[in-house]
Amino acid sequence: MTREPFLRMENIVKAFPGVVANDHIDLTVERGEIHGLLGENGAGKSTLMKILYGLYSQDDGEISLSGTRLRLDSPQDAIDAGIGMVHQHFMLIPRLTVAENVVLGEREPATPFRPDADAGGWLPDAVRSNSLVQSLAGRFSLGLDVPERRIQELADRYGFDIDVSAKVWELGVGQQQRVEILKALYRDVDLLILDEPTAVLTPTEADLLFDSLERLTDEGVSIIFITHKLEEVEAVVDRVTVLRDGENVGTVSTSDVSRADLAEMMVGREVLFTVDRERVAPGEPVLRARNVSATDDRGIEALSNVDLTVRRGEVVGIAGVSGNGQKELAEVIAGLRTVSAGELTVDGRDLTNASPRTFIDNGVSFVPEDRNRYGSAGDLSVMHNAAMKDFREDRFGSGVTLDYGELRAHAEALVEAFDVRGVHDVTDATAGDLSGGNLQKLILAREISRDPDLLVANQPTRGVDVGAIESIREAILDQRTEGTGVVLLSEDLDEIIDLSDRILVVYEGEVVYETTPEDADRERIGLEMTGGGDATATAGAQVRGLGGSS
């Protein structure tokens, strides 16, 4: 093909202190194509897209769109060139309406000031066409009727079910994402960059998004879809470019390759999707929760009469649709949430409503669901975060003193042992500098290095790339072999089935079903997760991971 592609990025180089984030990367995207950008966390996907969107400027290399060379110094340049981006974290103002958010920065003056005569009409033309009046009106008045009509048209054209006059805070996450897409479409973009768009969506919302994307491409819009989920690549993407360590590994058509091929391209080695579990005879019970009830942050009962026993050398998987009490259950058994009824023993000691410190001292380790908010302090160094729970131990100093040399050595050992990447100096790099997968590895390293009796892991592999997922799962199974009791909470049913010895399903704060991976029937688990036997069979399809390898 000699024809010039729609977008061409050539030899893009971008270096940050200590790392080359993009090392001579080429990328071409055709018109009307959904082009996947696949890579582990830290592979350089986001950097490349930020260059394309004018947020970073490249050190070297060229970008051209429809054959025209572009110089992108700011997102405004990118938008003017027809490139839009939907960030993972939405850039919306919750108090404003959908229409106000969409026109933000591109607003039109109120109707009486509009230059086209028939619009409002009571102001004399001489006044209206005065440039000072125009400039003031543009700054200080806001006309929403015309934009609202246009936004509604756009929404209808692409099948977005959205009320343009609704306030953004009233909308669900999936709808907010559609507002972000509308914002880009309103600015007439031909190329839309989506940064891990499904990370925040439920599976049903993700399917809706995929439908919308197809409609967009039918209209000639090209889409770059950043992801590290292989199943999404297979589901929506036409061609995919794989990045690894800042380099372009190759661009392939998704119809030509298998999931395993893609994973190998991404990680650089063969990835095992099946996990070998050694036989471990479960030992003494380490955790016993009897009739535990607890409320959520709003004071509404989130757990009622839960019984849970975990033995040494056993992984108990807790499956459920998000929001059915898993978070509260994890916090209760990690000692972070008080129970309103029931009792809790760890290794035979009654720890009901004991302090978090007591749980830690009794060998309970916890990997929280939100690693940035609860699992680490982003402003502090890797060293601080690595020692967050252990700094009281005798090896780090005597009495009240703390030996920072030892802390440093400890952090370095963890970083080394768990292959946490992106850390050149543990006292200099902060936890916030690490990519999601590497931060999660650091947290897991910290929790496991304490030789826990009980490990509670809530969504340990969420938002983590394939390579890190593999090592996190291995680490969890190693703990099992060493005789730790493990509670694994996950929305990924494959993960639960692969790792667990027993599976419990929670629904509305109660354990409704128990099974083992050998007897596990995905349909049945799916049904129990969504409300039990009286629901229809299709309900199961909404559960993440259920469409997988059953």
Binding site: E106, S355, L380
Partner: protein, 380 residues
């Protein structure tokens, strides 16, 4: 012509910016302060010459600077410690006054030799200051009451208490002036000269009182606690992410109480040292504002106790030099306050520059709306 500002979020803060901020901030504040001087028909070069060069080269100036620095550094630490735990102690002034009141009460009512009386005065001051600071800390830890408001309001209570006590129960001395009795020799802080080995040979130490040793000890104690102890580790952690700290089994209550109690005690030491070392009696009109100046001091020096000391010394120079300028050129005393306020303003501004790289473009297009949908990633 259109001028467009371009803001790029920074990924990392360059070292020169991180370390140069306090210096640049001070320089910028002095530069803008120079505009006020020009407006008053005073040559800023002359004025700053008097303010800094003369102050720092004369025996009198240096003595005054060190004496002033004692309460400023101690009050600065009182703001710095809570700042490390993510709290704002706006009430160092009140804690300082309470400390001065308690110490003064001991000084005029107890007769003991200096070796026993001075420690007792300082102890009483510490207890009172810690108590005054403990109230907002406890309210914050227990009920999540905003410590900025409570500590500030308690300062007003302390000021009224001072006014009442020095006009009533604690009024003393000859005449009916609203002030305490003059401190006895035993209750007065001696000059450094006799206390430091070889101190007699240093002329500067003849007039600088022993409160300087207290301030130095407080700085050392703060430094050691923050960098060498487990408690300091907890303070840092709670200050950075209190939710994660809770999950790590740290107690927010303990940390909040610790930083406020110790901070309050330091402010109180500053108060009694100023009265017993410099003033000689406690006047009802004594309203030094050290506790408020402590806020820019702590913000300038927030990276370490040593930097708090430097910032305290700088403000001492500013005060002493400011009054020289006032005398020499007849400019209003408010000038020093203006520079102080400018330091805070430029510190806040510097946060912006740390976060964004700023570029200016001329005559691009007629569009005055920069990045909208995007604005860069808010995480930086």
């Amino acid at each position: 012509m259109n001028v467009e500002l371009q803001l790029d979020p920074r990924r990392t803060v360059p070292a020169w910016l991180a370390y140069g901020t306090p210096v640049l901030t001070v320089l910028a504040a002095l530069a803008v302060g120079g505009v006020a001087l020009v407006a008053l028909n005073v040559d800023p070069v002359d004025a700053y010459g008097v303010m800094f060069v003369e102050t720092l080269t004369s025996q009198f100036g240096l003595t005054e600077v060190l004496v002033r620095a004692v309460p400023l550094i101690l009050a600065g630490l009182a703001v710095y410690l809570p700042l490390k735990a993510g709290l704002f102690n706006i009430g160092a002034e009140g804690q300082l006054l309470l400390g001065a009141l308690a110490g003064t009460w001991v000084a005029v009512n107890v007769s003991l030799p200096a070796v026993a009386l001075l420690p007792l005065m300082f102890l009483a001051a510490c207890v009172a200051g810690a108590f005054w600071a403990g109230i907002p800390a406890w309210l914050r830890a227990k009920w999540d009451v905003n410590e900025i408001i409570t500590s500030l309001l308690l300062t007003f209570v302390a000021q009224e208490l001072q006014s009442y006590l020095l006009r009533g129960p604690m009024q003393g001395g000859t005449g009916n002036f609203p002030q305490s009795a003059r401190f006895s020799d035993a209750a007065t802080l001696p000059p450094l000269a006799g206390l430091v080995p070889g101190g007699e040979s240093i002329p500067l130490f003849a007039d600088v009182h022993a409160g300087l040793l207290v301030a130095v000890a407080a700085v050392v104690a703060t430094y050691v606690v923050m960098t060498k102890t487990r408690l300091g580790f907890e303070v840092t952690f709670v200050g950075s992410n209190d939710e994660a700290a809770r999950q790590a089994g740290m107690s927010r209550h303990t940390v909040y109480l610790f930083v406020f109690l110790l901070g309050g005690a330091f402010a109180a030491l500053g108060g009694i040292a100023e009265i017993a070392g410099s003033q000689g009696r406690f006047r009802a009109a004594f309203a030094p504002g050290y506790g408020f100046t402590a806020i820019p001091i702590a913000l300038l020096g927030r990276n370490s106790a040593v930097k708090v000391t430097l910032a305290g010394l700088f403000f001492a120079v500013l005060f002493v030099g400011g009054s020289s300028v006032e005398v020499a050129f007849g400019v209003p005393a408010a000038l020093v306050e203006i520079i102080q306020a400018l330091v805070i303003l430029f510190l806040i501004t510097s946060e912006f520059f740390k976060r964004y790289r700023v570029g200016i473009a001329f005559d691009r297009r007629g569009n005055d709306a920069p990045a909208d949908a995007t604005g860069g990633d808010a995480r930086w």
